[in-house]
């Protein structure tokens, strides 16, 4: 059932019998797969005894969907097939696309700046914007570790949690303000990054991934079980809201609205939070781009491409890896403390493996190392995720399916190439097919 080459397809024509047979096989497989899981529903009855009832209608519907879907997929594959996109798109369109590609980043940035102005009355869109920007920031932060240094980190959410909990604890126990806690949270998270980095220096690839996953789980389990410090599963509540450098955004006399002599509106705080996370995200982006041009950034990229050659060139791989972990973790810490102050309440439920996977998916979908790609991927993923808010039950199911399909469709991410940071005479775009990954 391998994809047919165009010539083989032309020679064969549309083979209805073949497609029908394939769909039939898929339907039979689906029937067996779903027979017990969909066809029978179990539930604990009133006396605690398990009871079951049959749902053959649902089962039949699922099998029919698979049968129909299989035919549709085959037909699409037949009509679309593997096309040579480069030859099909005329040069004029390609030029236009190139210009559009160059323009997209500034246009997106300007639009983002204007979002609170345009959608001032739509609280929902502002909240969504804050959420997307949080993930953009997390994506850019993880990009330092995965995209630049090639270290596959599945426990990124641990640093996010460290940031959130350090802000929550410092603010509720010692009454420190957001602006003092923010750098502290970043430093603490970076410290945790080094803490994780040290033991895993020798590991590579999948092993590194699984150890970071275990680390993330350990952090979460400790948060759940260390009740006296973290409040356990109940989390920490009434976390102070951020102030605009000491001036609270409240309706009171000392609030910002009163001082400026304007009417108070709760939207002010949302707008403030929006610009705050935008500033943090842009800081992450700026630092990443600056670092990439510095020796340390180039060392990261060299490490990603070939660790052995890297060592042969006299690059200290230990410090290189540790700085990558620490930098990425620091940004996660910033994002975490922003998350805590935005929510006003945090609990271990917000820091599950699911979040790590989501951020990693954003980075990979964005195209490993492409800043614009990560931003677009965050917009797509979080926006798409939001569309399913009404179907809470099916959200993660659809997310999982989307992840699989996206990987099959574009394993290299949305933006498949990027410009090199340092080049000799001419800048050639680097196709991401040439970028090795996770070997460091």
């Amino acid at each position: 059932m391998a994809a047919l080459s165009p010539s083989a397809k032309a020679a064969r024509g549309l083979d209805a019998a073949f497609i029908f047979k394939k769909a039939l096989i898929s339907a039979v497989v689906a029937l067996v797969l779903f027979s017990l899981m969909i066809g029978v529903r179990t539930e604990a009855g009133p006396s605690g005894q398990l009871i079951y009832w049959t749902r053959f209608g649902d089962l039949a519907a699922m099998v029919a969907v698979v049968f129909g879907g299989s035919i549709v997929v085959e037909l699409l594959r037949y009509w679309w097939g593997p096309v040579d996109t480069i030859r099909i798109v005329p040069p004029s369109t390609q030029n236009a696309l190139a210009i559009a590609r160059r323009a997209i980043a500034p246009v997106l940035l300007i639009f983002t700046f204007l979002v609170p102005v345009i959608f001032y009355d739509q609280r929902y869109i502002l909240d969504l914007g804050i959420l997307v920007l949080t993930y953009v920031m997390l994506g850019w932060g993880l990009n330092v570790v995965v995209g630049l240094a090639g270290l596959l980190d599945l426990g990124y959410v641990a640093f996010y949690a460290v940031g959130a909990y350090s802000y929550a604890l410092l603010a509720t126990n010692f009454g420190l303000s957001f602006w003092i806690c923010l750098p502290l949270a970043g430093i603490l998270a970076a410290f945790f990054g080094v803490l994780l980095g040290f033991p895993v220096l020798r590991l590579r690839g999948d092993y590194l991934a699984i150890v970071t996953l275990a680390f993330g789980e350990i952090v979460r389990l400790v948060i759940i079980n260390w009740q006296s410090l973290t409040g356990g599963p109940n989390g920490i509540g009434s976390i102070p809201r951020p102030t605009m450098f000491g001036i609270p955004l409240t309706p009171g006399d000392d609030g910002l609205a009163a001082k400026l002599g304007i009417a108070f509106s709760p939207t002010h705080r949302i707008v403030f939070l929006f610009y705050l996370i935008l500033a943090l995200a842009l800081l992450t982006n700026w630092v990443t781009i600056r670092l990439r041009a510095l020796p340390i950034g180039r060392a990261w990229e060299a490490l990603r491409e070939d660790e052995v050659a890297c060592r042969a060139l006299g690059i200290n791989t230990t410090t290189t890896k540790l700085t990558a972990f620490a930098t990425g973790a620091m940004f996660a810490g910033f994002a975490g403390s922003f998350f805590a102050t935005r929510q006003g309440f945090i609990s271990p439920e917000s820091f599950t493996f699911q979040e790590s996977a989501l951020v990693l998916a954003i980075v990979v979908l964005g195209g490993m190392g492409s800043q614009l790609g990560v931003a677009l991927a965050a917009l797509t993923m979080i926006g798409g995720f939001e569309l399913f808010r009404g179907f809470e039950q099916y959200r993660m199911l659809v997310f999982g399916i989307a992840m699989v399909l996206l990987m099959i469709w574009r394993p290299r991410g949305l933006i498949g190439h990027r410009a090199p940071t340092v080049f000799l005479k001419h800048s050639h775009a680097i196709s991401s097919d040439l970028v090795k990954e996770g070997k460091g």
Binding site: M37, A44, I210, L221, N225, G400, M403
Partner: protein
């Protein structure tokens, strides 16, 4: 001492279950070189299928327990194996020659799909079943009344594991399929040049791994008397830890690692704290990878330049 002996028995039983799951990780990693993240969820699906087929068999009036167990085992293995086959076909085969992160993310996506699929299909609540096999033997009774017991369920779990492990070892060592698997593990291109159907061999690897995970799922159901949609994640990481501890790619290693993880976890819970038993298991993973990156029975990895 008696308490320790009892915990030892419990640990070995839990370890057998982990070992059965770990074999699936080890085989797939050995041949395809990827961590099959969805494997823990396949174990969970196996448990669900066992539960549902058991309910149906009981309600149609079957009463002979060994017959029920045998049918449940076969049904669960067959359907779960088909899950393994389908997942490989849909989510991994198209990415066989893609860049290395892609199959891993696809596997993570597949894991979400399976978890939430069973949540949507069967509900989020824990499904308990009454004990199917009761009875057991008293091995030793100490003066203060503490009894070391070996229950029939425990015996069945361990015996099933040992028998299946025997069949499986024979399969890998003596049959054509096993030879193909070992050939693919060495060098896929070379194996295909020499007439080994690589795609089919990889499919079969997933099928066997899933079937063994289904057995583990059924044993879990028998032993703990419950399944729920989320149990695959933690069991999956622990079984993976077992595979790594034993040396990934090594089949006896996976079993040994499973036993060790089961023992450590049980003893930790018995002597230190129940809350931190998972932390202990994950910490072992980190410690093992630092000091013994190739595991207890693994081959040293050659660094290619």
């Amino acid at each position: 001492m008696d308490y320790f002996a009892q915990q030892l028995i419990n640990g070995i039983v839990l370890g057998s279950i982990y070992g059965l799951i770990a074999i699936g990780y080890t085989m797939v990693y050995g041949i395809v070189g990827m961590i099959n993240f969805a494997h823990g969820d396949i174990f969970m699906i196996g448990g669900f299928i066992a539960l549902i087929s058991f309910l149906i068999l009981v309600s149609i009036g079957l009463t002979v327990v060994p017959v029920i167990l045998l049918i449940v085992l076969l049904v669960s293995m067959a359907i779960t194996a088909l899950y393994g086959w389908t997942i490989e076909r849909i989510a991994y085969r198209p990415l066989r020659h893609s860049f290395r992160l892609a199959p891993m993310l696809s596997a993570i996506g597949m894991s979400f799909v399976l978890t939430n699929y069973s949540q949507v299909a069967q509900g989020a609540r824990v499904k308990p079943v009454p004990p199917i096999i009761t009875g057991g033997y008293t091995l030793h009774e100490s003066g203060d009344g503490f009894v070391v017991r070996l229950s029939n369920v425990q015996i069945i779990v361990v015996i099933t594991t040992v028998v299946l492990l025997g069949i499986f070892t024979w399969l890998v060592a003596k049959t054509r399929l096993g030879r193909d698997m070992r050939a693919c593990e060495q060098d896929q291109t070379m194996a295909s040049l020499l007439g080994v159907d690589v795609d089919r061999t990889i499919s079969m690897t997933f099928v066997i791994g899933a079937a063994l995970a289904a057995v583990a799922g059924m044993m879990y159901l028998l032993y703990y008397g419950l399944v729920d949609f989320f149990m695959g994640f933690v069991a999956g990481i622990k079984a993976f830890t077992a595979a790594v501890l034993g040396g990934i790619g090594s089949l006896p290693g996976a079993m040994l690692g499973g036993l060790l993880i089961g023992l450590i976890e049980t003893l930790w819970a018995a002597y230190f704290s129940t809350e931190y038993k998972d932390v202990a298991a994950f910490s072992i993973l980190i410690v093992v990878l630092i000091f013994l990156p190739t595991g207890l029975l693994g081959r040293p990895e050659v660094e290619k330049v």
